[in-house]
């Protein structure tokens, strides 16, 4: 089997940006999802929520802009967007658990065909960090998983997750370097393929059988 590369991490983030809408309150997970904040189109108001108690953080701070008291939940020094505000952790999670966050974009280790998510612990390590992920998957209105399609050649989209779960039946959409896949009651629907990637190539590195959307198209970036 020839290696199918597909999109870079930046391009995966760029594809996720297409899911944003003006006025959305969005929580971005650590890692690849954080890259989404770099590509929000000018003129679109998207307010980023951070678990540590902040609405409306801006881009990552440059060296001269660093304020030691101003970080996002990933521990990165950030800037403030106009209209930002601060609050404590219980209010932060009232936003998340109370269904006020429109969209969360999280990383994934495994996603099952039913939309189960495992993203907080690699079993071999013996310990992992849950952070806000379990609250976000049950509380946010929509859950997008942004990840590489495979890990060391092994499928990450599987029939049943073998890693410890973050939540059951919680994922709405999976965006990878190869494809955009919707989780539906019928199963996983392949909606889009990355440029120069075929549906057969996506299926070859995906454990469950994919339903090919009648509107299958190439990703627009």
């Amino acid at each position: 089997m020839t290696e199918v590369k597909g999109l870079t991490r930046e391009l995966i983030a760029l594809r996720v940006v297409k899911e944003l809408r003006d006025g959305f309150y969005v929580n971005l997970g650590i890692g690849l999802p954080t890259l989404v904040s770099n590509f929000i189109p000018p003129g679109m108001t998207v307010i980023l929520q951070s678990e540590n108690g902040m609405l409306g953080y801006g881009r990552i701070a440059e060296e001269r802009e660093i304020d030691p008291d101003l970080i996002n939940a990933g521990g990165q020094y950030v800037t403030l967007a106009p209209g930002a505000c601060f609050f404590h952790s219980a209010d932060s999670f009232a936003m998340i658990r109370g269904g006020h966050v429109d969209l969360t974009v999280l990383g994934g280790l495994q996603v099952s065909e039913k939309g189960d998510l495992a993203n907080w612990m690699v079993p071999q390590r013996g310990v992992g960090s849950i952070g806000g992920a379990m609250d976000l998957v049950y509380g946010a209105k929509r859950v997008i998983i942004a990840m590489e399609h495979t890990a060391k050649g092994q499928p990450r989209i599987v029939r049943e997750c073998t890693y410890p779960l973050t939540g059951r039946r919680v994922v709405n959409t999976i965006v990878t370097n190869l494809a955009v896949i919707e989780v539906t009651r019928q199963g996983l629907v392949l909606q889009e393929v990355a440029p120069s990637v075929t549906a057969e190539e996506v299926q070859a590195v995906t454990e469950p059988r994919l339903i090919i959307s009648p509107d299958l198209r190439e990703m627009e970036l």
């Binding site: 304020d67 030691p68 521990g75 952790s89 189960d116 390590r125 310990v127 960090s129 049950y138």
Partner: protein, 229 residues
């Protein structure tokens, strides 16, 4: 009423072995660094920590890792015990693997709500967070409006240690930027709450509209200055 203490060492005079202690802070911001260092000097042992994390090395200095390294911690309640990348092994991770420290892993929102509830006199609550995961194992389950939920108990402590930006002599506190995090809710959930504050001002100087933690929740204050502990 005098809530002011001249030093962190004096403010922690009655913390004893086996104490259950909350520590404010998220990543490296809002951590009561000076009080952590006072506890290290005091040498209390077998403590249980309740904090978002378990202490890792940071750009800005002291964290709970100091107490873990010195073998003063027996048990930790946390939502983010280890860094996402397994490249560096923290003192906590090493001792955890050796079976020398216990961990209760709690989703962050559940951790915050358990602390808030303790402060508000609510003994327990139901939440869907954690259903179907290891967090739900052994917990009472009930359905509300077709949604399965877990029963979670309030989390209280003997002491809460906070870091605030400004405080007044009555214990009213304001925080700076992302330094707020768990500090205001932990203030409510302990028998004794001790705040290290960058600047203490006379009562009446803080804008009453801007106070975040009302003084009723704060029992002791120590001025520690800005920057590193």
């Amino acid at each position: 009423m005098n809530k002011l203490y001249p030093s962190t060492d004096e403010a922690v005079f009655d913390v004893s072995d086996g104490a259950v202690i909350m520590f404010g802070g998220f990543a490296e911001v809002g951590i009561p660094r000076a009080i952590i260092e006072a506890l290290a000097r005091k040498g209390v042992r077998d403590i249980t920590t309740i904090a978002n994390e378990c202490g890792v090395g940071f750009r800005q200095g002291t964290s709970l890792a100091l107490l873990v390294e010195r073998g003063q911690v027996r048990r930790m309640v946390a939502s983010y015990p280890v860094a996402a990348s397994g490249q560096t092994v923290s003192p906590f991770e090493r001792l955890y693997r050796e079976g020398k420290i216990e961990l209760e892993l709690v989703p962050q929102g559940t951790l915050a709500e358990r602390i808030r509830c303790a402060g508000a006199g609510i003994p327990a609550f139901y939440t869907p967070t954690g259903v179907g995961t290891i967090v739900g194992e052994g917990k009472e389950v009930r359905e509300f409006d077709g949604r399965t939920c877990l029963l979670e108990r309030a989390l209280r402590a003997d002491f809460a240690f906070l870091r605030a930006h400004k405080g007044d002599t009555l214990g009213n506190l304001v925080y700076r930027r992302s330094g707020r995090n768990f500090n205001p809710i932990m203030a409510m959930a302990a028998r004794v709450t001790i705040a290290e504050v960058e600047e203490i001002v006379p009562a009446g100087e803080l804008d009453p509209e801007a106070v975040v933690t009302p003084g009723i929740f704060v029992h002791r204050l120590v001025q520690v200055g800005v920057g590193r502990a």
